[in-house]
Amino acid sequence: MSEIRRMLIFVILLMMGFGSFLLPSVSAHVVSEKDWLNDPHDHGDAKIVYLKAYQFGFSIKAIQEGSQLEVFPEGSEPSILKVDKGDRVVFRIISEDVTHGFYIDGYSPSPVDQKIVIQPGKIVEVGPITFDRSGKFKIRCSVTCGPLHPFMVGDIRVNPNFGYYSYAAGSLLAGILTLAYLRRGPVNRMLGISLEKEVDLLRVRGIGPILKRILQWRGFHFAVIWPGLLIFAVVIVAGFVGNPVGNKNFSIAVVWILWFALVEFMILFAGRSWCTVCPLPALGEWIARRRLYGVHRIRKWFTFGLKWPGSLNNMWLGSLLFLTMSLIIPWLVTRPVVSGLLFVILISVGTILYITHPPRNFCRSICPAGAYIGHDSNASIYSVRSRDKGICDLHKAKECIRGSPEGYGCPWRLYPGGHDENTYCGQCYECLKSCPLDNMTVKIRMIGKDLAHMAVKAKNRFDEAWMSFIRFTLGIFYILVFFGPYAWIKDWGNMGVNFGANLASIGLLVPGIEGVVNWFRWAIMVAGVSLVVYPAIFYAFSWISKKVAKAEEDTKRIFLAFSYGLIPYIVFIWVAFAVAILLVFWVYPITAFSDPLGWGWNLLGFKFKWDPIHPQSLPYVLSSLAILGMALSINSTYNIAREMFKDHSRAYRATSVMALLHVVSAIVFVWVVAG
C-alpha cells in the first residue's frame, strides 16, 4: 500500500516539475504602464513623480504637473529628481523586479517606524512631501533586495542648492586662505602647528608607563592577534556557508563596513595599527618562529630562509593588487564567497611566504591592504621612532635589527632606530622590547611630518606615486559609484549579476556575455582614471609649476615629489567615505555579531533594524573633511617644495599651481557628495 502511495507521490511530483517548465515566464506581476501613469486622484498643486525601483537603482519615468505629463523615453529616464524649494511632490512608485523599499534622507520617517515597501505588481503612493529644505537628499532602498541593495540609491536635488554652492566656494576660500598663510613662508609647519614638536607617548604622565608596559609585554602581540584570528575565521566560514546576501553576512558586514572604516580611522590616528593586529601572516610567523609567545633562537628560522628578490622590494605588486581588487570591488564587497576566497588566498600566501621567504616580505610587498595602509599612514599622527638617533648610531650591537632575548630583530627588515617614515613599519613593537637602551618609543606628531624628506628622497619611486594616484582617484570615484545615483556604473562593475552567493551557490555568479563586456568597460574606466588620466593631469600641473617656479629640477622629480603631498588628502577623503559607510550601515556589522551567518540566530540578544544616522547632513560632513584634507595637502606640497628648492618664493609659486589642482579636486568632491 505504502509503496503504491509513494509511487503516486513521485509521479505527481514529477508532473509538477515538468508542468512548471511549460508555464510562461514571469509576467503576472507587472503593472501596466497605463494604470501606473493614470493617477485617479487629485493631488492639487503637487507634482507627481512616477518612479520605478529596480535592481539596483531608481529612475523617473514621468513627471506630472497639473494635467501636463512629461514622459521620459525608455533608456533616458533620469535618476536625479530636481525640485524647487517648497515644491510638494507625490511619488507614485512601482517595482520592476523584486520587492524594494523607499526612504528619503531627512524627509521620510525612520524606516524602523514606518517602512515603505514597494512590491512588484502594486503601485505605492507616497506623499505629498513638501521639500522645504534645500540641498541634496538621497532616496534609498530600505528592503534587502539583493547583493547591491545597500547601494541602491537615487538623488533628489532641492534647488537652490545653497549647501553645494557654499561648500564649493568654501573649497576655493580654504585654498586661498592656505596660500595666504603659506605666503609668510612658515618653515616646517603644518597649518600653524610645528612639525618639529613631537610627544613621546610613552613618557606622558599617567598613561605613558601603562602603555609602555603593555607594549613591552611579550604576550601583547599574541593577545591582539588572537581576536583578529577568531574574527577572520568566522569571516571565512560565513563567507562560505553563510547567507548569500552580503549585508546579512558577517564576512561582508564586518570586513567591508566595520574593518574598512576602522582602518581608515586607524591610519589617521594610529598609523599601521591594523598590521599590529592582523592575523593574515600570523600563522606563518608562529610556524617560522616555533613560538606563539616567546622569543626563540634568533636568526635561525624554521624556514627555507630564501632571499626576497630585490626587484620586489617596493610597492608595485601591492598597489597593483589593490587596483585589481578595486576592479572586482562590486563583487568583493557584496558576495560573501568572494570575500571568503580572498581571505583564504591571503592567509595561505602569507603563511607560505613567511616560511619560504621570512620574515614579513608578504606584508612589505604583496598584501594589497598593507600597501595602502603603509602608504597612507605617512600622514598619520602616530609613529614608532627612536628617541634619539644619536644613541642608535653609537650603539653598535643593534639589537633592534639582530634581536635579543627580549624581542625579535625587526621582522619588517628595517633599522628601527634610524627609520623616519611609516611606510614599512608594521608596528609590531619588537624593537620596543629588544632595545636594551630603552631608546624606542611611540611618538605623536602633526600630520605630514615625514612627507617632505620622503618626497625629496624619492628619485625613482614611481610605485609610491602611483599608489597615491590610485588611492586618491578611487576614493572619490567610489563615493560617486556606491553612493551616487548612476545605476548603470554599478551594473557594469557588477557584471549584471543580481544574485548573492556563498560556496554552495557560487554558480550563480557566472555572468552573461554582456555582463563581461560591461565589466571590461568598467575596468577600463577605473584603471584609466587612476593610472592614466589623473596622473597625466598631475604631471601637467607639475610641469607648469616647474615653469612658474623657474626651477632647475626636472619635471619628473617634481612630479614624484609632489605626489607625496597628496597623502593627507587621500587619508581625509577615505575617512569621509568611512564616515558615510558607518552612519548609513552601522546596523549591519552590529547585527552580524549577533547573527554571523545570517541564519536568524540571535547570539548576543540584540538585532537592529536598518536606520541611517542623520544621513541628510552627510554631504556637509564629507565635504568638510575633504576640504580639511585639501588644506593639509597644499601645505604639505609647500613643505616638499621648500625642502626641494630650498627657497621660499619658488616653493610658493610651485605650490600655488598645485593648489589650483587640489582646489579643483575638492570642488569635484563637493559636487559628488552635495551637488
Binding site: 502511495r5 507521490i9 505527481i12 511530483l13 509538477m16 512548471s20 508555464l23 515566464s25 514571469v26 506581476h29 523586479d97 523584486v98 520587492t99 515597501v117 512590491q119 512588484p120 505588481g121 528592503v143 534587502t144 533586495c145 539583493g146 611579550r218 604576550g219 599574541f222 588572537w226 584570528l229 577568531l230 575565521a233 568566522v234 571565512i236 566560514v237 560565513a238 556557508v241 553563510g242 547567507n243 548569500p244 546576501v245 546579512k248 608562529w286 613560538r291 606563539l292 609567545y293 616567546g294 543580481n498 544574485f499 548573492g500 552567493a501 554552495a504 551557490s505 550563480l508 547573527d595 554571523p596 551567518l597 545570517g598 541564519w599 536568524g600 538585532k607
Partner: protein, 133 residues
C-alpha cells in the same frame, strides 16, 4: 623558561580553539535536517536560482500538529499553501514567520512563494506530503 612554555601552550590551545568556533556553525549547517525530524519544520527560503525553499519536501503525519517556521534568507519572499488555506504574507529577509496547523486529510499540498522574488519566482515551490498511518 618553564613559564614561557606554559604560555606557549596556552596560546596554542587558544589558537586551536579557533577551529572549534569555526566548526560549530558548519556542524549546525548539517544538523538542520535533523531538527526537522521533530514536530517543528524549519524552511529557509532562497531565490529559486539559489535553491528555492530548503527543504522543499516536507512529510507530516495525518492528524498530527505541525509547526512550520519560514525564514527568508536573501530577498523578500512569501509562503502560502493553497490546499490548506495557509498564507503567511510577505516575509522580509531576516524575518521568521510561524504557522501551526493540523493536517487532517492525506494528500500532497503545494506551497509557493507569493512574492515576486527573481526571474524564476514562478518555480519557487515545494510540497507538503500528508501521510496516513
Amino acid at each position: 623558561m618553564r613559564r614561557g612554555i606554559f604560555w606557549e601552550i596556552v596560546a596554542l590551545i587558544l589558537t586551536i580553539g579557533v577551529i572549534g568556533v569555526v566548526a560549530f556553525p558548519l556542524l549546525d549547517n548539517y544538523l538542520v535536517p535533523e531538527k526537522n525530524e521533530r514536530d517543528t519544520v524549519f524552511i529557509r527560503a532562497y531565490v529559486k536560482e539559489a535553491g528555492g525553499f530548503q527543504p522543499d519536501v516536507i512529510r507530516v503525519k495525518k492528524g498530527e500538529k505541525v509547526k512550520i517556521v519560514v525564514e527568508s534568507m536573501d530577498v523578500t519572499h512569501g509562503f502560502a499553501v493553497k490546499g490548506l488555506g495557509i498564507d503567511l504574507g510577505m516575509i522580509e529577509p531576516g524575518e521568521k514567520k510561524v504557522i501551526e496547523f493540523v493536517a487532517d486529510k492525506e494528500g500532497v499540498y503545494v506551497f509557493r512563494c507569493t512574492v515576486m522574488c527573481s526571474p524564476m519566482h514562478n518555480f519557487m515551490k515545494g510540497t507538503i506530503v500528508v501521510i496516513g498511518e
